[in-house]
């Protein structure tokens, strides 16, 4: 019955209401377009990936010292709960993620129609359809790839994934280099398409820019559903150079299990 008390309650109520209303209004307004960021956070089996320093052990007891992780992310498609999709404009949807370059790990998508997105789909590599189109639709991505050494000069094609470093194992006791490069080789196209569920929906609004935080477990590249032993591919002790042949489709198949959406920020 105290006026002061009532006023305080009223003011508090008003503040709460206006506060809530602002957020509610923003979330409710699903008109227009907005921004969406996708972050690719490279990790090794639950630990952060630190290039060139930390030893990382695989299930096959190979200890890797990783010096380079690069991959092409492309053809992003966002899906809503009702199954409808938004396909990011193809010619703008080619990105090159490089562990050594923090900026490259945050993909900035623009003009995304407002909505609640529950899934994200992307490709690792440059898809076959684009490849068969020649220069059409490539813009300057060839230059980006060449600058990152992700363009195979001899075949005018892209490296889809580059994974390099040194390793030791029970049978390989001296530090030995390894290099995994995937891409189109011979009759294997080696492009992987990955679909991930967002644990909470990404709310794109004119005033909300969500960040989908993807964690890439690089151990899965060679230690996923298919286990590839670097020691067994160490020809003449000169290093495990895996850049062609039948191992690439196996590594490509592993890519599906290497990515997951860790969380989504909506602010």
């Amino acid at each position: 019955m105290n006026i002061k008390h009532t006023l305080t309650v009223l003011v508090m109520a008003l503040l709460t209401l206006t506060g809530c209303n602002n957020d509610d209004d923003a979330v409710k307004d699903t008109s227009g377009t907005g921004y969406l960021d996708v972050e690719f956070d490279n990790a090794f089996a639950g630990n952060d990936l630190i290039l060139g320093a930390q030893p990382n052990t695989t299930s096959q007891n190979e200890v890797l010292n990783i010096s380079l992780v690069k991959y092409i992310v492309s053809n992003i498609v966002l899906t809503k709960a009702d199954g409808s999709t938004f396909t990011y404009p193809k010619s703008q949807s080619y990105f090159l993620v490089n562990e050594a370059n923090a900026e490259s790990q945050m993909l900035h998508l623009t003009n995304v129609p407002a909505g609640d997105y529950t899934k994200i789909t992307f490709g690792i590599g440059v898809d076959k359809q684009q490849f068969e189109q020649g220069a059409d639709g490539q813009g300057d991505f060839l230059a980006v790839a060449q600058a990152e050494d992700m363009l195979w000069s001899w075949s005018a094609g892209y490296k889809f994934l580059a994974f390099e470093g040194t390793f030791t194992s029970p049978t390989v006791t001296a530090d030995t280099p390894f290099m995994v490069h995937t891409g189109q080789i011979g009759s294997n196209y080696n492009y992987a398409e990955v679909t991930l569920n967002n644990p909470t929906p990404a709310l794109v609004r004119t005033s909300i820019k969500p960040v989908i935080h993807v964690v890439t477990d690089v151990s899965k590249f060679i230690d996923g559903t298919n286990k590839i032993s670097l020691s067994e591919n160490n020809a003449m002790g000169m290093g495990a150079m895996i850049m062609g042949g039948e191992l690439l489709p196996l590594i490509t198949a592993n890519l599906n299990g290497a990515f997951k959406v860790d969380h989504v920020h909506n602010d």
């Binding site: 220069a135 060839l142 230059a143 060449q146 075949s155 011979g186």
Partner: protein, 346 residues
């Protein structure tokens, strides 16, 4: 009638307008398929050749600034008088005199092929220039530097804007321009072509006709159609050079059955494109025929057509060889190698 009269008066205006704007106006080019050619492979609907696109591609072709030392343009190894091959060079030298392992192939009628390079490393004409352009031993070009170079050059800016209006100067438009140039590089007016199309100047001599007949019996199974290639990869019995051990198509497919197989080249203008084979090892057409007659090396992937009925190679008498060489000389298209449309322009 009145409408026609008005139109008639307007027509001269149109002509005078276009001549003063011809520098900036782009015109579609007629892509004619010669009557004796197989179907075109390149999809011109995605990248239709136009006057300015052609000029832009030509300018790029002759521009040494695409290479890391500013000297090695495409034209450095692809010289018009030799049907755009590198006369006298077994393999070419690129920037800093670095040397490769393969002989410079001819640039002609490429829109009719579905795979490029001696090992078929790429199947799209747009992408082919990337291979010599980015190869360290050839042009050693840096795409990240080439794009700003073109953007800073007023001649390039005008050509790009005319050929690709409203589009940025990018690697994509650069490659498309080069494709437009290459698509229009058609060699189809040799004596042989005129003979095939029953045109004036197509009278083959008896020896040439005899050579053509021998060619059809012995060579045309691989050097097929009037473009003289079936675009396949074959091992034609060349002894392997142990220093290079060039496994050819195997490098691209990883298929053991493709070891030491190379692309069947087109024989058009062959009298001008010496030396011959993927490593330029034969200096004359006679040497090539001698190889087929007596010089075949056997191997697991040797083409079955060169090992028929227990005979190695293609037995030929001296007269037969001369007739075939006479025929091969009729494949020379003087118009193509002298046409200034394909030459360097300031």
């Amino acid at each position: 009638m009145k409408t026609l009269y008005i139109l008639g008066c307007l027509l001269p205006l149109l002509f005078s307008c276009s001549s003063s704007e011809s520098d900036y106006q782009d015109i579609a080019l007629n892509v004619n398929i010669p009557a004796n050619f197989p179907p075109m492979v390149y999809d011109v609907s995605v990248n239709p050749p136009t006057q300015k696109g052609f000029e832009l591609g030509r300018k790029l072709f002759y521009d040494g600034r695409l290479s890391s030392d500013g000297l090695v343009s495409c034209a450095f190894c692809h010289i018009q008088e030799n049907a755009f091959t590198h006369h006298g060079h077994t393999v070419s030298h690129g920037v800093d005199n670095r040397v490769g392992t393969r002989n410079s192939p001819a640039i002609q009628n490429l829109a009719y092929q579905n795979v490029y390079m001696w090992d078929g490393a790429t199947s799209h004409l747009d992408l082919q220039p990337l291979i010599p352009l980015t190869s360290e031993v050839e042009m050693n070009g840096d795409l990240t530097a080439i794009v700003p170079m073109m953007k800073g050059d007023s001649a390039y800016k005008k050509l790009f804007e005319a050929a690709f209006p409203g589009q940025d100067i990018t690697v994509e438009t650069m490659l498309k321009a080069l494709s437009q140039f290459m698509v229009m590089m058609v060699s189809s007016d040799s004596k042989f072509d005129k003979y095939r199309r029953n045109e004036a100047g197509g009278n083959l001599t008896e020896q040439e006709l005899e050579g053509y007949s021998l060619f059809n019996q012995n060579c045309a199974s691989c050097h097929a159609t009037d473009l003289m290639t079936d675009n396949s990869f074959r091992n034609n019995g060349l002894a392997v050079n142990p220093l290079v051990n060039d496994t050819g198509r195997y490098k691209v497919t990883g298929n053991d059955a493709d070891r030491y197989k190379f692309k069947v080249p087109s024989l058009r203008n062959v009298a001008l494109t010496a030396p011959y084979m993927h490593d330029g090892r034969f200096g004359s057409l006679e040497a090539v025929l001698n190889h087929y007659a007596n010089g075949i090396s056997d191997s697991p992937t040797l083409d079955p057509l060169l090992k028929r009925h227990g005979t190695m190679g293609i037995p030929l008498t001296a007269d037969e060889k001369m007739a075939i060489v006479a025929f091969l000389n009729t494949l020379t298209d003087t118009d193509f190698v002298t046409n200034t449309l394909y030459s360097y322009h300031d």
